[in-house]
């Protein structure tokens, strides 16, 4: 993929001079009472055929709003264009009547979305959903439609296309569904493809495949791609030009190599610096007796049988062994379905193992009997706090049920809130008043209230913007230095793991395939799966570094 990046870099000079898409002075109004009057203000950019323009930004920056405006799918009247022009091959899309816009959508302009799991109609066969594009735009006999649907599936690299054509979406994995969505979007060879975070919900290896697929289709057909993402790694893999957005305004724009290497704006610099580099420091081995010892841990899930149908069993953990010393962090890395979250749930005691042993300080850990020694921090800061209970109550309830006097628990709660970088008065407020990053800090304070020796953090920063992510990771480090708890850090992101962890354990299909000190695993991975994972991470400077080599 990096080779195509190089060739794209050279194409800069010979790019076609007729713009495919020009956005001029675009303002998009938010409804009255929003935190700002305009979702997007004064957006300007030009996209040429065969090129990729990335719009990067954090949540709320207005990047997806631009994408929706171009394809004419803004949720009106909630969001409406207030000024400016969107010129597609010279025609202003903002003044085009809806019927004309419909003829463009799906034929000249295709779109791919973030949530592949939800982007397909669950009640329609894949083939029917592909053929729908043809039914809308062309008048073809049924057999011809079927042939073209099969060809489209073939084109996006799906196996056994006949079978997939006749399946419902629930039979397909996330990556396969995203391929189907791309097939739908590319079926009529649109001149413009809009991708709104198409790989964010996917595993890193799947992401690499989807990015390669988009780049390949683009090269073969000369499509212009408008690519929305929050991930600078993805930008460096795929972009010719970049726009950095912040709070509805364009912060910086330019060729990808220039923006990534020499950002003119301090904000861009800050975003790029916040990305973990994916390299690990060599850390001292603390020695001493292990705090957590896991041996031959097994967990089998039984899928309940239906009437007259035998239940099925899925082995989520196939005999895991590992140990962790006090004050150390072990990173459990793996893709979805690898069993990493199951491991976390067993260590906290939310589930019972089906075999093997779990010991903390030599004492066996009994499931469903919580003594506070092991605490958990969850992935979703929005779903993991009870919206009806004040922040203080959420934090203090644990110690209070363990017999700590109320006044003392509250005093400790306010102390903890300050420790995690919030104000003591936050204790009396409710979750909805806080941002995602702040809520995750509350989650950390809640875990610390029990004075744990071990914290299981299940993807604690995956739902956060990159700059917020960096702050929360900093907080973890400083707290760990002060309080000396050990941490089982579950993540799909090797870059985050590299930054946080002393040890790494790479999991695949319920097994640990490789384990060792972080810097060794990352520098010289022994297992092929680890190598695949590492290679799949979008590298920030791959493009520019190649140019220098």
């Amino acid at each position: 993929m990096t080779h195509s990046a190089v060739s794209r870099g050279r194409d800069n000079m010979t790019a076609s001079l007729t713009p495919l898409l020009t956005v001029e002075g675009l303002n998009i109004a938010l409804p009255p009472g929003a935190d700002r009057p305009l979702a997007v203000e004064g957006a300007e950019f030009t996209l040429y055929p065969g090129r990729t323009l990335c719009i990067v930004g954090e949540s709320g920056s207005g990047k997806s709003t631009i994408a929706d405006a171009v394809i004419g799918l803004l949720p009106r009247p909630h969001l409406r264009p207030a000024a400016g022009r969107i010129l597609f091959e010279g025609r202003d899309l903002l003044t085009l009547p809806e019927t004309a816009m419909r003829r463009l959508r799906g034929a000249e302009i295709g779109m791919v979305f973030q949530e592949p799991m939800a982007a397909l109609n669950p009640l329609m066969k894949i083939g029917a959903q592909l053929e729908e594009v043809l039914e809308i735009h062309l008048d073809l006999p049924a057999s011809e439609r079927r042939t073209r649907a099969l060809a489209a599936l073939n084109d996006v690299g799906l196996p056994r296309v006949e079978e997939i054509c006749d399946s419902y979406p629930s039979r397909l994995s996330g990556g396969q569904r995203q391929r189907v969505v791309i097939a739908c979007a590319m079926m009529l060879e649109p001149k413009l493809l809009i991708c709104d975070e198409p790989t964010t919900a996917l595993d890193v290896t799947t992401q690499a495949q989807i990015l390669a697929l988009i780049a390949d289709l683009q090269k073969r057909r000369g499509t212009g791609v408008l690519f929305i993402t929050h991930d600078f790694g993805v930008v460096s893999e795929i972009a010719d030009d970049v726009i950095v957005m912040r709070q509805g305004l364009i912060e910086e724009a330019g060729p990808a190599a220039q923006v990534l290497r020499n950002p003119a704006s301090a904000y861009t610099r800050q975003l790029i610096d916040a990305i973990p580099t994916g390299t690990a420091q060599q850390r001292p081995d603390p020695g001493g007796a292990p705090l957590l010892e896991i041996e031959g841990l097994r967990r089998v899930y039984s899928l309940p049988g239906k009437l007259f149908r035998a239940p099925r069993q899925v082995e989520a953990l196939k005999g895991i062994s590992l140990s962790l010393a006090a004050g150390q962090t072990i990173g459990i890395v793996g893709e979805s379905g690898s069993g990493k979250s199951t491991l976390g749930r067993l260590v906290v005691g939310l589930e019972k193992p089906d075999g093997g042993s779990l010991r903390v300080k030599g004492r066996p850990l009994v499931a469903h009997r919580f003594d506070g020694r092991v605490q958990m921090i969850f992935q979703d800061p929005f779903a993991s706090l009870n919206p009806k209970i004040s922040i203080g109550e959420t934090i203090a309830i644990g110690p209070i049920t363990k017999g700590v006097p109320r006044a003392q628990a509250w005093a400790r709660t306010e102390e903890l809130l300050e420790l995690v970088g919030l104000r003591a008065e936050a204790a009396r407020r409710y979750p909805h008043e806080f941002s995602g990053g702040q809520r995750q800090r509350v989650g950390i304070a809640r875990a610390l209230a029990m004075d744990p020796e071990l914290i299981v953090a299940d993807e604690p920063v995956s739902a956060l913007d990159v700059s917020v992510q960096a702050q929360v990771l900093d907080l973890f480090e400083s707290l760990q230095k002060r309080l000396n708890f050990a941490m089982l850090f579950i993540t799909h992101d090797l870059r985050v793991a590299a930054r946080m962890c002393d040890q790494l354990a790479v999991m695949q299909r319920g097994e640990i395939v490789e384990t060792g000190p972080s810097h060794e695993v990352l520098r010289a991975p022994r297992h092929t799966y680890t190598r695949t994972l590492l290679a799949a991470i979008p590298q920030l400077f791959s493009q520019t570094e190649r140019e220098f080599n």
Partner: protein, 323 residues
């Protein structure tokens, strides 16, 4: 194969449930005040204890209650629902005679309420908050809140008595010697008011449910995908939104179909419709235990059958339910 074993399983479940219901009904009715022997004897004109004893002996009412239960349950297993001494006929034949009328009424009301409810729901969901939406919401509220018998009586007052458009009661015109098409039309005219009266409440629930689901489904990502394909509004509403929004309505309709059989009792009584509901009402008034139990059992069986049909339809429309 899987679908067949699923079906067999559901039918077995249904039969078990039916026996449980029969048992429950049997004991509940014994717990109710009133002695059938006393009622029968009273009508015969003698209330002395000796005669009562004779009546009890004759009908097996002197046996221990468990033994009575066993006689009843084993009878059911042989499809023998007992004998109504009030009407001097077998319960099964009495019910079978009345069943078609009830089925016609219930099925008409079921189809009517689904079609009208879903249509109104779709119309209301097109523009939430619009005049149409608020009007439909208001209508649904009235249909939902007004008691069925009151609506029925009002309908009779307006359409039969005031306007004279439709017959007020019965199954067909008495004494009018209609044949062929005329007879059919006559029956259909008789069917209109009972069907409407029985449907209103269900129209209201299906309207509200369809509207809520349509609105929820229009937010789904796959609807945006369909728009991005260039699909027109009709295609989006019907093929993508409505199809998904109908699933919970199907479930609800299946559950309510059983209720509807129960609701038919009231409607049949008001409109003098010669169905099982009317039969049940009369049996209740006359303390006709075997007939009452039989009618209960048949309505329960209908409810269970409707539920099984719903489950089957559900597995056909939702491919995610793997059997």
């Amino acid at each position: 194969m899987n679908r067949l074993s699923f079906l067999i399983g559901r039918i077995c479940q249904g039969i078990l449930a039916l026996f449980a219901i029969a048992t429950l009904n049997f004991f509940l009715i014994r717990a109710a005040p009133g002695d059938p022997a006393a009622v029968m004897a009273g009508e015969a004109g003698a209330v002395d204890e000796k005669f009562l004893q004779v009546v009890r002996l004759q009908y097996g009412l002197d046996l221990p209650i468990l033994q009575q239960w066993w006689i009843y349950i084993s009878g059911i297993a042989r499809l023998d629902l007992g004998y109504s001494y009030r009407q001097q006929a077998s319960v099964a034949s009495l019910i079978l005679e009345r069943l078609p009328a009830t089925l016609v009424l219930t099925i008409c009301a079921f189809v009517f309420s689904l079609v009208v409810g879903v249509t109104l729901g779709v119309l209301a969901a097109r523009k939430p908050g619009s005049l149409t939406d608020r009007l439909i919401g208001f209508l649904a509220l009235i249909f939902y809140a007004a008691p069925m018998y009151w609506l029925a009586l009002m309908a009779v007052l307006i359409f039969s008595i005031r306007l004279g458009w439709l017959p007020a009661f019965g199954y067909q015109s008495i004494g009018a010697d209609y044949h062929g098409l005329e007879a059919l039309l006559d029956r259909m005219r008789h069917l209109v008011l009972p069907t409407l009266a029985l449907s209103f409440f269900y129209v209201a629930i299906y309207t509200r449910m369809t509207r809520a689901n349509m609105i929820a489904m229009s937010q789904m990502a796959f609807v945006k995908t369909a728009r991005a394909k260039g699909a027109g509004e009709t295609r989006i509403q019907l093929r993508h939104v409505l199809r998904n929004a109908l699933l919970p309505v199907v479930t609800l309709a299946g559950l309510q179909a059983g209720n509807m059989v129960g609701g038919a009792i009231m409607t049949e009584t008001v409109f003098a419709w010669p169905g099982v509901g009317r039969l049940m009402f009369d049996a209740l008034m006359q303390r006709d235990y075997s007939l009452l139990l039989g009618a209960f059992l048949i309505t329960a069986a209908l409810a269970i059958i409707f539920n099984i049909i719903t489950d089957i339809i559900y597995t056909l429309v939702d491919p995610r339910i793997a059997l």
